[in-house]
Assembly symmetry: C2
């Protein structure tokens, strides 16, 4: 495959963009029109120079002495993250976590919502979760193609996660959010993120004496 | 209250320590004894200078030209994060998410496990989740004191989250992991972290063309 000539931005930068976005959207709700990297840095506990550098990868969005226009920067970050189009998500695993994620997803975001739910358990197939009918896992590949899905969520037990991920990759999914407490193998072109409650709690432990 | 004279380490540093820990524990399982900050940086996609700086806040753990001893660094990070003692956790919310978290927590970590589950729903109170009986929310304060709990997990709907957090803070909880999709107010001495599936998916969206 030919390498494209776009600059390679580190994953750490990409991980911070949604944090900036959520913060800016809150400012927008509070009717704040302009924000400096200093203010952003203080509120988010991130070095302002880091914020300026992160955003500069993608263009010249701020103005010296004035700062960033909040609505403009929201629009730009949404474009960078491709949130200006609809990105349907496939969820595998209709257990307690899957149900919680489905309810949450439908509620929170129109453009990045769970569009199909799969399970292998005949007792779960055909049940309704957040207005979606749970489909058999064997339909994963055809539905992913049909719906143009590129993002998958893994909410199955650890022992079943690798097989699910292999099927997702085979179906053409390029981004995976994994909730199973295990490390998974994916080809280089597929991005995987781990949602890890253990790490979150461990970071909190530091602060409790 | 008197300010202690320990150096103030930024939250960003503390957030990276569990990532280092999980990585080192995997190396340990793979029987790797020594690792350099270069190798760590490459595997974790974090600048090696950042890793050295993060660890140097807490002491001189590595040796020039040799790197870090894996078991020694595991022990040190566990000490820094206070994972060398037992830290019971209170969970409020026995819905689908709460059940998923309880099952996960009991499975994964002995020293940082959910020790009590609370809900206000009479239908849930008295039911058993992961060997724990769901208790009425009115017992939160007394049980937190009794069990010496300092960490709480919020798994209730957004509209109820602030009231739960207020009760947790009143009961003496100092670290809160919030799953409700809303921003919450806590006093300065309390640390709150947000588990945000939306941000995780948004960061993935960048990679799927």
């Amino acid at each position: 495959m030919l390498q494209e000539k776009t600059p390679i931005v580190s994953q750490a930068v990409i991980r911070r963009l949604p944090i900036y976005l959520r913060y800016l959207q809150q400012l927008h709700l509070d009717e704040v029109d302009t924000v400096s990297s200093q203010e952003m840095g203080q509120d988010l506990d991130i070095n302002p120079a880091q914020i300026r550098k992160d955003l500069a990868y993608f263009g010249e969005f701020g103005r010296k002495g004035i700062g960033y226009s909040v609505p403009y920067l929201i629009e730009k970050i949404r474009q960078i993250l491709k949130l200006d189009r609809s990105l349907p998500v496939a969820l595998v695993g209709a257990g307690h976590l899957g149900i919680a994620l489905s309810n949450y997803s439908r509620l929170r975001q129109a453009e990045l919502a769970i569009a199909a739910i799969f399970d292998k358990d005949p007792q779960k197939i055909g049940t309704k979760i957040a207005e979606l009918v749970v489909e058999p896992i064997d339909r994963l590949e055809s539905r992913v193609r049909e719906l143009g899905i590129r993002i998958g969520i893994v909410a199955v037990p650890a022992a079943e996660a690798q097989a699910v991920v292999d099927r997702m990759v085979g179906a053409g999914i390029l981004g995976i959010l994994n909730f199973a407490p295990t490390t998974l193998r994916v080809p280089g072109e597929v991005h995987i993120r781990y949602s890890d409650v253990t790490s979150e709690l461990q970071a909190l432990a530091y602060y409790v004496e």
